[in-house]
């Protein structure tokens, strides 16, 4: 056995390290989407007219509602941190649950949006899609790939928050130790942030 105290042990509690690790991970997530944004930028530049034409197919109202939903969910998850810092566990749980509920609303709206596109045959491989010109095909491919990939992140973010709820219930995450909630919230903000960029790129640039 070690007969001295190792102050810099890797098994000590270190919130700073956890947060640093999370930020690095968020960095990699941003770069992951960065590759997609790069591809989008280049193809938009090469096929400006086709992208413009195709973007009129998207439903701006649904996109706007979803943006508001996600922004609100970021607010509730941020408030849950304040709540747990004040020791109000019940309030924190309610706020996280509402964040997850907002995530659900986001996905439901997304579902209706995608279904409408399927009905128009705009998913890659469908009849209408195959008749589009190359630039428009690229637009819809990127639309489905990027919003789909973002949707996957919404689901992952929601699952992380469910684990946070479990940790709070068990008392592992509490007033004195809430780094897990903070990291979960950081991830959620990232999901939100990426949508903030996807929304104007696909729905608003005319």
């Amino acid at each position: 056995m070690a007969n001295f105290v190792m102050v810099n042990s890797g098994h000590n509690r270190d919130d700073e390290a956890d947060k640093l690790g999370m930020w690095l991970f968020l960095f990699t997530e941003l770069l992951l989407f960065g590759g997609l944004f790069l591809v989008y930028t280049i193809y938009r530049y090469l096929n400006a007219d086709a992208f413009l034409h195709a973007s009129y197919e998207l439903n701006v109202i649904m996109g706007t509602v979803n943006t508001i939903v996600l922004l609100t969910s970021s607010l509730t998850v941020a408030m849950s941190i304040t709540a747990i810092q004040k020791g109000d566990t019940k309030m924190a749980l309610t706020l996280i649950w509402s964040t997850i509920a907002f995530a659900g609303v986001f996905l439901v709206i997304k579902y209706f949006e995608w279904t409408a596109k399927f009905e128009h045959g705009l998913f890659p491989g469908m009849e209408h899609y195959n008749m589009l010109e190359p630039g428009e095909k690229l637009f819809f491919f990127l639309y489905f790939f990027m919003t789909g990939f973002h949707g996957l992140h919404v689901i992952i973010g929601g699952i992380i928050l469910l684990f946070v709820i479990a940790a709070i219930r068990k008392g592992e995450t509490n007033q004195g130790k809430f780094i897990f909630l903070e990291n979960g919230a950081l991830y959620w903000h990232l999901v939100d942030l990426i949508w903030i960029f996807l929304f104007p790129l696909f729905y608003l640039i005319h």
Partner: protein, 533 residues
Amino acid sequence: MSTAAIQSKSFYEEKKGLKSWIFSTDHKRIGLLYFYSLGSFFLVGVILGLLMRLELISPGETIMKAKTYNQVFTLHGVIMIFLFLIPSVPAVFGNIFLPIMIGTDDVAFPKINLLSWWLYVLGGLFALSTLVVGDGPADTGWTFYAPYSVKTGTNVSLAVFAAFILGFSSILTGLNFIVTIHRLRHPKMGWFKMPLFPWALYATAWIQVLATPIIGITLLMIIAERVFGLGLFDPSLGGDPILYQHLFWIYSHPAVYIMVLPAMGLISEMIPTFAKRPIFGYKAIAYSSMAIAFIGYFVWGHHMFTSGMSGPARVIFSILTFLVAVPSAIKTFNWVATLYKGSILIKTPLLFSMAFIFQFLIGGLTGLVIGALATDVHLHDTYFVVGHFHYVMFGGTGFAMFGAMHYWYGKIWGKMYNEKMAQISFGFIFVGFNFLYFPMLILGLMGMPRRYYDYLPEFTTLNVISTVGSWVMVLGIIMMLTNLIRSKKRGEKAPKDPWGGTTLEWQTSSPPSLHNFDTEPIVPEEGPYFHKV
């Protein structure tokens, strides 16, 4: 200190059984898990390489058909790059020695460390599964260039998915090391009291974290293209294949530095120990690691000089490529300067280090030849390129790893290897290596293209020399491994510090206990490489 009484159990003895290994969160055990799994894949890669050389011993079809040859070199590349070289030094020696060298008992996130090994195994299984399912392994080359990779009937999707998972594993290791170095250094170890191997790992970890996601998303796009039959990178469908090459090399060139930087860190450890001198230009070496990591980001375009890029872009990428040679040269000069007037102890690790310097020099200088625009047009896609990167990757990273296996053999396994046998096997590996790869440089200059199973009769002599070289080298590798395996049983017990090393891993027992240190490690105030002369 009364020895026997407080002598604690080594990390091997703490727990036993398979479960205690594959679910262990101890960084030393995870490092060893990596070592054995990496070693197995390395041997598979070596066998594939041997088969390729055998095919090329004479012109025409010798032992395999063109398509088989394409699949063999692809699998050789995928295994050697994604399963061996990229994880290699950080995952094995980084895992085992980083925490010990900075005076702590584990990495910052031990569970994530275990997860990264599991992801590695999963990725390896995916890569191997391409052998048995569907139309056989991919035949695209390890670069998966579109549009061919989108159209071929072979198992590209599985191979690409394997690379994606392995990227995840690599990111987690990098993330873990950055946080470990920031948060867990011994309180008395400032940044510039840190040994150079952790410095190299630190620079590498940043590349792992910042570059790997790009390949991740690019590979996902390839899979999506194959699944939905799209044309993201297919010109006939509106896509741009050059864009794929950009995205691929934005990661894969920095990845070259993921492979070689930590190996340079190993050399920076071995040279001062065997020269019995403080390393020359400590700060210059530390900074040059960071410089290589930084500049290495901006040179990817030099893989595409002949595939269509504007003139100014080519000139800029060429200049940047020359720039990245500067920090590598700084390191090389510093290693040589460390040896100058040293009290040199000629042992196997030093021999491998010297071979590293010699071969890395050839690899580096030939890199400048193909980094120059005019010569690259002539040499692109010839055997010159194959020779060049094998000199850097195998002659560099591979040799550094072999050296480190001997350097830390006692520390990891608790026994000393047989020095004489080790030196003889080194001789075989060194001679075989140079006979194997030097002819490739000449063949490339003569114009022999890479990636064909066949060649013109005038290239025969040099190809035969190269193939015979591969046999000598493999013989040497077998001898080396036999020696290391035998020494585990028959070797003498390793002392704490067999070489008179000055970094912290030599202050603990061989092999170390579960918590690495039984008594508080003493961080030398003079810096990591202070040798009392």
